[in-house]
């Protein structure tokens, strides 16, 4: 049976599983974290502790998409609004009752050495297993010289990390902001400053939308709004990219706690495959509650069992070598789309997507006879729609008419509606397989070009591409 526990993360942090709650509303109080640990969370990063702030009302807004709530989530909430004493007293209590769970103190204080030394000592005295330096909060705190104001300047990040390391006995993680042109610059600075690990990514600067009645962006605070931090499923691809950037960079790579749109074991596995040792979750818990961790733990366990991985370390980082620069990709690899006639339901979204969004090589000509070749040879999509609008259709009222109207041919879908791929024109872009609503209906099949592997770098290495000095 696979072991999903984490041992010695960033040096000495242990937890029952790689699933931590990120520093955020779900870790606001000891009472909440106790319930989270009871639900099965392996660790929790305490809601950032510092001099208490005053929050506004309202604080959150979401981007819904196609009927689904919270595709993306945005907040303008600040760090803890509770005193340092209360937070640390509760932390000591939690740690005493849950010795096997990781409790990480997220910290943010004013940028001077003594203040940092003081808060580090107090957090560790409370029993924190590690410290997470919040250099990422993108709103409110940054205006006060904290949060992303530090995380956007490598020199500051390094300096404060060094101050913390002077005092800290537990592992120090630096939480990185994505609101910077290259996240690696700050990751490297943190590493130079002696950080034991990193957390990435924090939220992305955002305005989620505007109320079209009042013209006020969301969230509305008495008629005004302010940019917030974006998170939730929408940001996962951005986070994965940044995780990969960090973990592929020798000067930046450190034990990494992955954050950004994680809501399921699948998401978690992907972050771990790119090198993360633990993952942190917030939005999904804010949406569904702590209980989601049950499926995350079970699902990861089942997947590891199926793949034959005994521990997290067995698969951590396995996908990193699979990410490379574009110039190293094989230009002679070719795939084409194949449509499974038995599975096609005839929505013809692949046809219109290919015509309007790709390379005009998916045609509806199975009945009229295939025509291969360039776009000029085919009727354009709007011609077919016009023809349909001009056709005469009657309600099938008799049984005979109804049977004829719903008669089936060799496939579940009438042949005229099953698209055909012109494989000579198909560039293998994947678009059709992305839009197809039926699993496994469109597959991208490799075709042998008979050509050896050749990358752009190799192709342009020849003398024809050598830069010539201007005469």
């Amino acid at each position: 049976m696979p072991d999903i526990s984490v041992r010695g993360f960033a040096g000495s942090i242990n937890s029952l599983n790689p699933f931590w709650l990120a520093s955020a509303p779900p870790t606001n109080t000891g009472e909440m974290i106790i319930r989270a640990f009871d639900a099965g969370w392996g660790g929790a990063v305490w809601k950032t502790i510092g001099e208490p702030i005053t929050n506004v009302s309202s604080r959150y807004s979401a981007t819904d998409w196609n009927g689904q709530r919270i595709m993306g989530f945005n907040n303008i909430e600040l760090i803890s609004d509770r005193s340092i004493e209360v937070n640390l007293r509760e932390m000591a209590e939690v740690k005493k009752r849950y010795p096997q769970n990781a409790v990480i103190a997220s910290l943010m204080v004013a940028s001077n050495r003594e203040t940092w030394h003081d808060i580090v000592a107090r957090a560790e005295d409370a029993g924190a297993d590690g410290l997470e330096l919040n250099f990422g909060c993108p709103h409110g705190m940054s205006e006060r010289g904290m949060g992303s104001a530090v995380g956007q300047v490598p020199e500051y990040a390094q300096m404060i990390t060094e101050w913390v390391k002077e005092k800290a006995r537990t592992p120090v993680l630096v939480k990185l902001t994505p609101n910077i042109s290259d996240i690696r610059t700050v990751a490297r600075a943190a590493k130079r400053g002696g950080a034991n690990g990193l957390s990435a990514i924090n939220t992305i600067n955002s305005i989620t939308g505007i109320d079209l009645d009042t013209l006020v962006p969301r969230p509305n605070v008495d008629g005004k709004s302010s940019h917030g931090g974006y998170c939730g499923p929408a940001v996962k691809p951005i986070a994965l990219n940044m995780v990969q950037q960090i973990m592929s960079d020798a000067e930046a790579a450190l034990p990494l706690s992955g954050i950004g749109g994680i809501g399921s074991w699948r998401d978690a596995a992907e972050f771990i495959l790119l090198g993360c040792g633990t993952v942190q979750v917030c939005t999904a818990v804010m949406h569904y509650g702590y209980r989601i961790v049950e499926d995350m733990a079970e699902g990861l366990d089942n997947w590891m069992r199926a793949k034959g991985y005994a521990t997290i370390e067995d698969f951590r980082g396995l996908s990193l070598p699979r990410v490379t620069e574009w110039k190293h990709l094989n230009l002679n690899y070719k795939i084409v789309a194949r449509i499974d006639e038995q599975k096609c339901i005839g929505c013809d979204l692949c046809h219109i997507a290919c015509w309007d969004g790709a390379h005009q090589c998916i045609h509806l000509d199975r009945v009229t006879g295939p025509v291969d070749g360039h776009v000029e040879l085919h009727p354009i999509p709007v011609a077919k729609e016009t023809e349909s609008r001009l056709s005469i259709t009657e309600t099938p009222v008799t049984r005979k008419e109804r049977e004829a109207a719903f008669a089936q041919g060799p496939y579940p879908t009438p042949l005229a509606r099953i698209p055909r791929v012109d494989e000579t024109e198909c560039v293998g872009c994947n678009l059709c397989s992305c839009v197809c609503p039926v699993d496994g209906c469109i597959t991208m099949v490799p075709v042998d070009t008979g050509l050896p592997l050749e990358t752009w770098e190799e192709r342009t290495r020849g003398p024809a591409f050598t830069a010539q000095p201007r005469s």
């Binding site: 009927g67 005839g346 056709s391 259709t393 049984r399 109207a405 609503p437």
Partner: protein, 442 residues
Amino acid sequence: MSTATLPDNPQLRERFRELKPPLTAQAAVIEADRCLNCYDAPCMGSCPTHIDVPGFIKRIASGNLRGSALRILDANILGSSCARVCPVDVLCEGACVLHRQNRKPIQIALLQRHSMDAFHASGERLPIAPPASRKLRVACIGGGPASLACAAELCREGAEATIFERRPLPGGLNTYGVAEYKLRATDSLREVEMIRQLGVDFCFGESIESATALESLESEFDYIFLGLGLGAMQRLGVPGEDAKGVMNALELISAYKTGHIREMRGTIVVVGAGNTAIDAANAARRLGAETVYLLYRRGEHDMSAFDFEYEHAKQEGVQFFWRRQPVAIRTSEHGRLLLDTVQVQQVDHKLLPIPDSEFTIDCDVVVPAIGQSPLELAIQELCGIAVRDGRIIADLATGQTGNPRYYAGGDCVNGGREVVDAVAGGKRAALAMLKTAEVAHA
């Protein structure tokens, strides 16, 4: 002046509550989001009026309800009643590709109703071309869906149209003949009112049957559109058919919809197994009849009613006699009806009575529902229009008859289909008249 309306009838509303209640605004958006937005969508293709179904559905999803309604009305001016009465199982919803994925089809009818209800509630008017901006005047004979669609299309394009209807209320079967739990007569009249606001003129109580009447129309109008519908309900052809208590299905339906029948008691026998027979049988149940039989001379797999109508009748508590047909109707000394019936079997292509299978049903009302008869065809002699099997012969694409000044559409051409077919026919004829007139004036 607005078109005539019916007095409020709370009892009718209560007894004939809508079969399918409307979607809430959020449910409509959730349903709209399920739509795949197919290219050249099969739902659109299967609709006789070719409503841009994904187009109006995606406008619901985006919150563009006005645009959604206009999209529907652009293709089908009776979008509101079609959303309620169309047999969508064999039309748009039947064609939905989701069936092939073993998923529930998009609830197109309810979504269409959602947009149309919002449009009616908004009190908005349809955009039209300036009235009488085209020199084209058309008389539409009959006030049902075909004529309404034809006249509306003409007025939207700036032509003039007058509808001649012999009954006191417009709308034809939409007002008088559709089960109230599907389409309320008041909703039909609301829709007609919208069409009247486009500039369509209505003349009620006008029966255009004589040569003189037609001649006078010909002198006043450029074209005449025939939206005559079908003839009267067919008679059973058995002795005693004229007894008190015998009332055909359309008489029953129009009487309860207009408030002339408010209650039924005892045992009712409906003869026939088409969609109208089912409507009449269900109505009898809802009006209070304890026992309702539906008598059909063939088996349940032969009935012409749609499957969902048959299922609905079973749920309403209608009972069925298969392969039994009426022989005579007698009146008992207590004033009750005695319907003599006999079991039949099919031999070759004939239905023959089975000896000693007679029995008599003691009942209160007998409702013949064996279809409408072909048109009474005075018109063909009057204006030289070809008629075959009771149907006016007209070009399918244009509705033009053998007499180039006469166009026709709806049941009188197709022999009796759905409202949506009548709308399509009326619209095609209007477009053809507009085109012909344009060429003539060019």
